[in-house]
Amino acid sequence: MKESRFDYRKQKKLIVVLFTIIPIALLLVFSYYPLLKMIQYSLTDWDGFSPSSHFVGLQNYKTVFTNPTYFSVFRTSLYYFIATFFQLGLALLFATLLSFKVKFANFWKGILFFPYLLNGVAIGFIFLYFYKQNGTLDTVMNFIGLKGQIHLWLGDRSINNISLAFTSIWRYTGFNFLIFLGAIQSINPEVYEAAEMDGANRWAQFKYIIIPGIKEILFLNIILGVSGSLSVFDIPYIMTSGSNGTNTFVIQTIDTAFKYNKLGLASAMAIVLLAIVVVVTVIQRLATRERGAK
């Protein structure tokens, strides 16, 4: 006697299809279709709402690559790129500390991860008031007697990108920390025990057990950091809207599309950024693979 009309394998297939159809549909509709459309727009001079537009071929790409104003803003990304290493260092430090026995470990984990849960807009405003003239930071510095060291944290062009990059560190350290912690905890605890028996101290454990154990994850985080620093957007957009030398490539793209009504050109800029990020990722993938092979 048959229990049902479907046999088990067919049912399994059906369930798999039904469950994947929603994410795949979402992916197609909200990622791949817009991407195709963007490539199409990047070949036109469409302004974003006119009923008609002209095909201009690769003219937009030519403009992006020949006009220095579009590429010079990548200089700002350097600040965030350097900040990435501080961020990873901090995250690794805390992840290592908390992987050993610590009091209130979950409490500290929560505190470290909390900034990542906050909305980017909220963070932008928190730090805007933090850095403002006579804001929180100035008040604190006055209180501890560092009055002479007070700057216009966002107004002074020599340091405003550092202020913004610091906000970025504050926000994303928790995320890197969590990934590192997960990787460290996946190392077999017996290895530590064996090491302790052999007389290895904490530093030796870190150097010879943890670092080799999480090498892959470390590189993954660096890749994320690099592509993140190329496409910085929300923190400088909310806090300074890209004024006073804090402009980034993505803000430039948004301005081109919606302030100067050159949606075609802006689409081309977005595609160029996508291509750069893909290239960076591929290069780093290849580099890590070679290391792994050796």
Binding site: S4, F49, S243, N244, N261
Partner: protein, 434 residues
Amino acid sequence: MKKRLVLLAGVSAALMLLLTACGSKKSADKADKTETITFINHKTDWQSNGKWKAYMKEFNKKNPNIKVKIETITDYAGQMKTRMNSNQYGDVFMLPDTVKPQNYAHFVEPLGKQKDLEKKYIGLTNKSYNGTSYGIPSQLNASGMVVNMKVFKDAGISKFPTNTEDFIAALKKIKEKNPEVTPLYTNYAAGWTMANWDFMRPGITGDPQVTNKLLTNKAPFSKGEVMYTIYDTLYKVANDKLIESDPTTSDWEQSKVDMANNKIGVMVLGSWAVPQIQEANKDNAKNITFQTFPAKAKDGKQYISVGADYNYAINVHSKHKKAARKLIDWLVNDSDYAIDNGGLPTKKGAEYPEALKSMQKSGVKLIEPAAAPKGKESLFAEIDDASEIGLDTTDKTKQRIVDAGIGNSKESFADIMKDLNTKWGDAIKSVGNN
């Protein structure tokens, strides 16, 4: 097995639900006599303080059969641009300035011949194309300076200066007398406020054609030109540290309160800002005045330019065009919208707001910029976009001048003007080639 089937049914049911939810809903109450129209606009403050509700109550006294749904959007111009790619942008809405004149007919219903409407209204040139008007201004604004006269009087200046040298000297005096006061607040960070500096063009020159002349002038930022005068003034006040000390973190809402409380001397804005600042401190309202840019035209007279604010328009896809028109007519002819917002009413012969009345008495003439030459209605916008200078539209160039003025960047004023001239000249060439 049964359990699995139930699960399957559940999943597919959920899917169906999801799909149907995506479909469009159709309202079936056509038999009902009352029509519901949607009015989309940018007056978010009126939505929250109940002013729109009161207005619509008044409107319904005359037109009980039209129910108006008010929808307000904070980032109005930005969001509307996206929405206008569909046909769901309300029945009545404020026509965004980015729509090019040749596309008006594609998006909005014509409201009548410009010649006929001009008998009754002013400020129509802006949104008319080939003799047909597609929008009626909600109000007209004068562009000039909002001035706290108490701050000036405290520094011993009883009359607002009429040339830029005296103006800068006056601001310096204010700073000397009371270092706590910001003589001129730029509102650098707000992102739209500094465009008001550009709007001073017609008022300074007294020439209604000033913007049309920019269409062929390949070096409009050279010394002696009006844009040079405006930007030079901005550069000098920044360079002499007569502006807020940290422009990057300036705050628009706070600036209104500060000015009302005598902490700011001047802000370059439109007449619409006067009631908003007066409201922030009603006891001090009489000290908040509206003045022209401190300059005289070649004929020795002072002018102030008035231009249309957002225009009311009817969606070309609307199913309730007659009702929509009734709402527009009521707003323009019968409501106090313009006066309540500190602007000039669109209707001819209507009373001017207080701030402008006193100015008229002192001999300042109002001028309205002339329409663009036929066939070149969108040329200014095209050149402006191509140059990425953002004249009248964005704050980037003005911010750059302030940055240079306070010493944040190493550019000299002459370098910036040279660069702007190159950009503008190139843009004229590139747009002409298309």
